[in-house]
């Protein structure tokens, strides 16, 4: 959209510390007339015609405001100053993407109160303002999203939202930014232009340039976050400034029932309690350190099956009692839906808001938010604590956009809490350098050691499947496959279930065929991401109706069935990294009744990933033993 750029002079409006002209943009001049003429009693303002695309206007506005000496000092002659301004705008027209035609039309007009007082025909009551503030603070909303939020409150006409936005902007309740800005690090005089998306942080690669109806010239938009709405150079991104603290509206009963070091009511095991305690220490201390720039991070490194979710509860309780807002971001929608009733039950007096694609609570305000990671993009410096579950999983891992969104959603003085069983290598490095505060939970809730994978030498699947026809291959295979068949028989004899992981989808059906020919009375099934009956099969597997399930890494997380043995074929494939191997190995021995599941790495080569994965599991077991967490200490460790 196009906005008006104007300047006011501070000498006139009695603010001592400001020395020059102050520049503002306006979506709706009525508001500005009212503010400057009626409230601040200024004799005039200087207004630039015609309206400029928002991005350009904002860039000029920023430069003029930061450059007091050169462009904002009041000289004797207003006309001269204005000429200087226009010259400056001309010099930098390319940088701000201003059309040549528009430049030629630029002129300044001095507006005095008597000219415009008739136009001020609106009234904003404090109750409306409070309502707006309530729904917008801590959010970063594009124009269309802002309209949705405001309209659901009070709807008058189409331009009503500009009035609201401008009112909040001029009174300092929101920041107006453009969806995309010219990159700030670049010096003004440099010819090269770099753009970044203010919403998702994407750089030059994600930008697409084309003609735009709203600003009437070539405009750019961000392709990365387009699924969440179109962020343009000329679209306002309205960021509601959050009030410093929210220590209000909490019943005293909540305070009194909360005791700092007592969380016995959460039924945590001893290792969990210890981890929670150190995490709480971090949360408490981090608020006392004065920081301005970056939120602090804390990592809970808990092995698979340690009960991470249960450990979050006391942490949320701690934050909530202090009147802070918490965001719990998790990769999948079903996890959000599963957590909602559990959290609501644990904190019945809290407003729990769940956000995901198609959520009905999209614009609601609450104390505790549970959301899929993508939803973080709509927040701006809102939360005191952002918890990111399964840090190393898709889609958060290696996704710069979501990491930027998470950073943005957290207050500058806020904290992140990462939860992971297999932190990415970058974080492990930081742990080794002692830069990242963390706690390890090295044992499962049932306090049995993690099953340590055994490596079994086995030909690669490609070779195995190819050699089916050849004479020599047949002979080799018959000998080799015994290794596998023997172990599967063993598992089934113990009435266990086999969970077989393969690196590629194309191997699934031949292996299914092969195994069902060997085990005629056993239900053998294969599941992949392209399988339409995926849900049903996983359900059947959970009910123990399938005895041998063959799958890819899609089921490496989340699926937990008691008494399973894990078989990883082609464990030397480069599609299985250390984290994936540890996650898959973590499917075994989850339940307290059958804690001694078996894990096998079938591979031709002994690769670094396998060695590291086994090492990581052994280290965790050793640590658990050292701390005395294990049930039968000294006996269970392999």
């Amino acid at each position: 959209m196009k906005v008006i750029l104007y300047a006011v002079h501070p000498k006139i409006h009695h603010i001592a510390e400001q020395v020059g002209w102050r520049w503002y943009i306006s979506l709706n001049m009525k508001v500005d007339y009212q503010y400057w003429f009626k409230k601040m009693k200024l004799p005039y303002i200087v207004l630039l015609h015609p309206p400029l695309p928002l991005g350009a206007a904002l860039t000029y506005c920023k430069v003029f405001n930061s450059n007091h000496d050169a462009y904002t000092r009041m000289s004797q002659n207003l006309k001269q100053v204005q000429l200087k301004w226009i010259q400056f705008m001309y010099q930098h027209r390319k940088k701000v993407r201003l059309n040549e035609k528009v430049y030629k039309q630029l002129y300044f007009e001095t507006i005095q109160p008597y000219q415009v007082l008739g136009e001020i025909d609106f009234q904003i009551t404090t109750s409306i303002e409070r309502k707006w503030m309530h729904s917008i603070q801590g959010r970063g909303l594009l124009q269309s999203e802002f309209i949705q939020v405001i309209q659901s409150e009070d709807y008058m006409n189409d331009s009503w939202w500009t009035l609201a936005a401008q009112y909040l902007y001029i009174t300092g309740k929101v920041q107006i930014n453009s969806g995309i800005t010219v990159c700030a690090q670049q010096s003004l005089l440099q010819q090269k232009q770099e753009y970044i998306c203010n919403r998702c942080g994407s750089g030059q690669d994600a930008m697409y340039e084309n003609k735009c109806l709203y600003c009437g010239q070539d405009c750019i938009y961000c392709e990365k976050c387009i699924t969440m709405g179109k962020s343009r150079y000329c679209t306002p991104l309205i960021q509601g400034i959050k009030k410093a603290s929210l220590q209000t509206a909490l019943q005293p009963s909540v305070h009194s029932s909360y005791k700092v070091n007592d969380f016995s009511h959460w039924n945590l095991s001893e290792p969990q309690t210890e981890a929670v305690r150190s995490a709480l220490t971090f949360l408490r201390e981090s608020t006392q350190i004065n920081r301005i720039d970056e939120p602090l991070c804390y990592l809970i490194w808990a092995v698979t099956g340690a009960g991470k979710t249960e450990m979050i509860f006391p942490l949320i309780e701690h934050e909530i009692t202090l009147g802070r807002q918490v965001m719990l971001a998790t990769p999948r929608k079903d996890v959000v839906l599963e957590l909602q009733p559990r959290l609501q039950k644990a904190f019945p007096h809290l407003q729990v808001v769940t956000l995901y694609g198609g959520s009905t609570q999209k614009w609601e305000e609450g104390d505790l938010f549970i959301a899929t990671t993508h939803q973080l993009i709509r927040f701006w410096q809102k939360f005191d604590l952002v918890i990111i579950d399964e840090l190393d999983a898709f889609p958060y891992h290696n996704n710069a956009m979501l990491q930027y969104a998470a950073k943005k959603a957290c207050k500058k003085q806020g904290r992140y809490l990462f939860l992971s069983a297999t932190p990415p290598s970058q974080l492990i490095k930081e742990i080794k350098r002692d830069r990242l505060p963390h706690v390890k939970v090295p044992v499962r809730y049932h306090r049995n050691p993690l099953p340590v994978p055994q490596r079994v030498s086995f030909p690669s699947l490609t070779h195995l499947l190819k050699s089916e026809q050849s004479f020599l291959g047949d002979f080799n295979r018959l000998r080799k496959e015994k290794v596998l068949i023997h172990r599967i028989k063993d598992t089934l004899n113990r009435s266990g279930i086999c969970f077989i992981f393969l690196p590629k989808i194309k191997y699934i059906s031949p292996i299914v065929q092969f195994l069902s020919s060997k085990f005629k009375h056993v239900n053998v099934q294969g599941v992949s991401s392209i399988d339409k009956e995926r849900e049903q099969k996983v359900q059947a597997f959970r009910k123990r109706e399938i005895h041998i399930l063959i799958t890819t890494t899609i089921l490496e997380r989340g699926v937990t069935v008691p008494n399973t043995d894990v078989y990883i074929m082609d464990a030397d494939s480069n599609l299985f990294d250390e984290a994936a191997l540890v996650q898959m190995a973590g499917r075994a021995g989850r339940s307290a009744q059958y804690p001694n599941g078996k894990v096998y790495f079938f591979s031709k080569e002994k690769t670094k990933h396998q060695v590291e994965a086994i090492k990581q599991i052994k280290e965790m077991n050793a640590l658990a033993d050292k701390k005395g967490y294990l049930k039968n200490a000294g006996e269970g460790v392999n």
Binding site: Y208, N210, C212, L213, I226
Partner: protein, 248 residues
């Protein structure tokens, strides 16, 4: 085995020198190994349900057509569509129209070109006999919502390709509900009187016959939109009106 990171980075760098964003598949952003006019990868190209056979000669439908039989008065001569409007195509159009992924425009223009070629073979007329391209207009409200008129963009793209003048012959006077919902008769009565001729543009039109005008639109469902547009045009201009739509 995995290639070392250093070499991988070099390969990526070299690729980036030769391959810009344009050589990624516009749908699934996979890197394209070979040149493709549609800028699609093979998997995405294969899912396009091109209309190869037209059963209804009037509207270019790929199956037996009841709408053309049912209609009392038809004002356009022929319509041709490029693809069958199935779920995948619906998804693609939604990505472009509602999500606003404008990088896909080129793909749509290339696809609609196929329908245009089909029309030309049917008509056996030369390219330069097509006088003007025009498009189905959007109401002001919808235009503001969406930021562009997809039919206009298709028409402009096609016009640029074959150097045919594109004119905005029609104005939308009535803000109708989306034509993608509602029954046949609802659509028919909705669209009645929704368009008028733009007087300024009509004056500039060279009215010397044979005057052939092609109306471009994205989706032809029952044809009532196209028919209504054609009715308005033929009632003021001595023209033969054809339709070229992306999907049917």
């Amino acid at each position: 085995m995995k290639e070392p990171a250093l070499i991988k980075n070099h390969i990526q760098f070299l690729r980036s020198l030769f391959l810009t964003n344009e050589t990624k598949c516009v749908i699934c952003s996979m890197n394209l190994k070979t040149y493709s006019a549609l800028r699609l990868c093979k998997t995405c190209t294969d899912v396009i349900p091109w209309i190869n056979k037209t059963i209804c000669p009037k509207c270019g439908r790929f199956e037996v057509c009841y709408d053309c039989v049912r209609r009392s008065a038809v004002y356009f001569v022929y319509n041709r569509s490029a693809v069958e409007y199935n779920d995948t195509m619906r998804e693609w159009l939604a990505l472009y129209k509602y999500r606003g992924n404008e990088r896909m425009l080129n793909l749509f223009i290339e696809m609609i070109d196929y329908a245009y070629q089909m029309l030309l073979t049917k008509l056996e007329i030369q390219v330069n006999h097509v006088g003007y391209l025009t498009y189905v207009p959007l109401s002001e409200q919808r235009l503001q919502e969406r930021g562009f008129n997809q039919a206009e963009q298709f028409a402009r793209g096609l016009g640029r390709k074959y150097k045919i003048p594109v004119i905005s012959l029609l104005d939308r006077t009535k803000h109708t509900e989306k034509q993608s919902v509602g029954s046949w008769s609802e659509r028919f009565s909705n669209i009645q009187g929704a368009f008028t001729l733009n007087k300024m543009v009509v004056q500039r039109v060279n009215k010397k016959p044979p005057l052939n005008i092609i109306i471009i639109d994205d989706v032809y469902t029952t044809g009532s939109t196209l028919n209504e547009c054609a009715r308005v045009i033929t009632s003021f201009l001595p023209a033969k009106v054809y339709g070229v739509t992306w999907a049917r």
